[in-house]
Amino acid sequence: MASVTLKQIGKSYGAVTAVEQFDLDIADGEFLVLLGPSGCGKSTTLRMIAGLESITTGDLMIGGTRVNDTDPKDRGVAMVFQNYALYPHKSVFDNMAMALKLQKMPKAEIAKRVNDVADMLGLTPYLERKPAALSGGQRQRVAIGRAIVRTPEVFLFDEPLSNLDAQLRVKMRMELQELHERLGVTSIYVTHDQVEAMTLADRIVILDRGRVAQIGTPREVYEQPATRFVASFIGSPAMNFMPAERAGTDWKITGTDLVIPGFGQLATEAAALTLGLRPEHIEVLPADTAPGDPWVFDATVKLAELLGADALLNLSVNGQPFLARVGGTDFPQAGETVRIRVDPARLHAFDPETELTVARAAQH
C-alpha cells in the first residue's frame, strides 16, 4: 500500500489538452473515484498513473517516489480494464499467473498465490478454462484476480463494471467493496456511473472537460456541489434548474410570477442566479394543507410515472416545470392539482456566468 500524489499533473495531445493540471493527494488505503462524463479525461488521468500514457506536465509520486519515468511494471500498480483485457488464449490460471511468471517467481509460490486468490474470488473451478468459456461476471473476477495476485500497492480500475448487466453490476460492486475492506489497498477507480461512485468512494474527483470540478466525499458532492455541473451530474433524476432574477431581497423565477423568498444571504452581487433543487427535496403535501408558508406552492401534475419503489411527477408551478420524486404508493395522478413544499435549506444557487456555487452567508 502506498499513497499517490499528483502534483500539477496534466496531459496534452499536441494542441489538445486532455487533462488540465491539478493536484491530488490520495492517502494510503483510500478508495478514490474519478467520475465524469465521457471524454472528460478520467481514463487519461488513470493511465498516466499506470504509466501507459506519458505525463506532459507535473510529477507523479507513488509511495513518496517520483515515478514519471518508471516502467508500468515497476510502479507497483495493477490495473483492471473496462473490457477485462484478459489474454484470450491463456487459461484463467495463466492469466492470473502471468505477472508473477514474468517476475521469475518460483513456480510453487505462483501456484500458491494464484490458488489463494482464486479461492477468495470463487474462481477455483474455472482455473483451467479459457476466458471465452466464462460469463461476464467471472471474467471480471479474473481481471480483478489478476490484479490482486501481484499484491500491488495501488489498484487502478477503468470502468471495470460498465460491460456488465445491471444486476451483475450491483453484485460485483459489492464484491469490490468487500475486497477493498479486506485488502485495504489504495484504489483509484474510474467510472461515469454516479451510483458506483457514490457507493464505493471514500472521496470522489469529479472531472468536467479535463478540469477538476470538485473533490470531496460522496456526501459532500451530493449535498454541497461546488458547481452547477457537479449538481447536475450527481443525482438521478437530475436536479431541477431555473433561472432567477433579483426582486428586492427575494428572487423571482425568470419568466414566471414565482417568487422565492430570500433564503439566506447570498454572497453575490449578481442580478441573476440559477437556482437548483433536487427532485427528492420537493415534498407533496396533502391537498388540504393550509397555505401561508412562503415555501408552499400549488402545482399541477403534468405526468406521473411509477418507477417501482418511487414515482416521478412532472409538475408545473406557475408555468415553471419541476420534477419531483415521491413514494411509489398513492401518488397523485396526471391532471391533479397538488400542494408542494420546497425545502429552502436544500435550495442551491449558482452563478449563471461562472456556474460556480454561490455560497450563503449563513450556512444552512
Binding site: 499506470a50 504509466g51 501507459l52 516502467d71 508500468p72 511494471k73 500498480v77 495493477a78 490495473m79 480494464f81 473496462q82 473490457n83 483485457a85 484478459l86 489474454y87 484470450p88 488464449h89 502471468m98 505477472a99 514474468l102 517476475q103 489478476r146 501481484r150
Partner: protein, 274 residues
Amino acid sequence: MQKRPRYGLYAIVSLSVLISFFPIVWLILTSFKNTAGIYAWPPQYWPDPFTLDNYISIFTNSPELLRYILNSFIVGAGCTAITLLLGGLAAYALSRLRLRFAGMLMVGILAVSMFPPVSLLPSLFQNFLNLGLLNTYTGLILAHAGLFLPFSVWMLASYFATLPVEIEEAARMDGMGFVRIFLTIVLPLSWPGFVATGLIVFIFSWNEFPLSLVLMTQNAMRTAPVGISLYPGEYAFPWETISTATVLAIIPVLIITAIFQKQIVGGLTAGAGK
C-alpha cells in the same frame, strides 16, 4: 418471407466455378494426353489414350523439377517468415507505438512498392553480386521479402487496428516488454491476420518470376516457375512437359490455399473492418 429454392444462385455459382477453373482443368487433362492427343485437331476433350507417360517422363528426364519445387518452397517459406516477423514488428510499431513519423513511413512504404520492378533488376543484381547473395536462398528470400514487406506491413497494421489495445496494455502492466508482447500476445491474437497475410505472401513469392530468374542463376537453385519456363525451347514448345510440370508445381499452392482459404477471407475481413 419464405425461402425460395435458390437454383439461380447455384447456377451462377457453378458458372463462376467453371470459368475460374476450366483453364486449370484443361491443363490437367492435357497432362494426361500423349503428344498426338495434345495437338489433335479437333481438340481432344478427354485424354485418349489416358496416359501417365508425361508424369513418368518428367520424373525420369527432369528430376530437377522436384528440386525447383523444393526451392520455391524454401524461398516462399523463408520470405513468408521474414515478412510476417519483421513486417509484423514494423506494423506493430507503426500502429501501436505512436511513432512520430508513422503516417509518413506508411505512405512512403506504399509509394516505393509502386515502382515498376523490371527496372530494379540490373541494380539489384549488381548489389547482390557484391554482397555475395546471388544463388543463395538468403538472397532471394531477402529480395522477395523486400518486394512483399510493404504489403504485409499494410495488411498487418490494419489488422492490429482491430485488436483491443487493452490486452497489450495489460501485458505491459504485467511486466512484459514490447518484444515479448509482440511474440506472446499480438502474434497469437492476430493469428488469422498473420495466416491470411502469410498465405498471400507465400503465393506472391511462389509466383514471382523476374527476380527469381535473375538472382538464381544456378540450375539447382531455381524456383518452380523459372524452372518450368526453361522447358520451352527456342523453337520447340513441349506442351506435354510444361502442362505436367505446371500441374505438379501448383499442387503445393493448391493444398495450402485449400487449407487456409477460410483464413484468407477471415483475415482480410478483419483487416478491412475499420
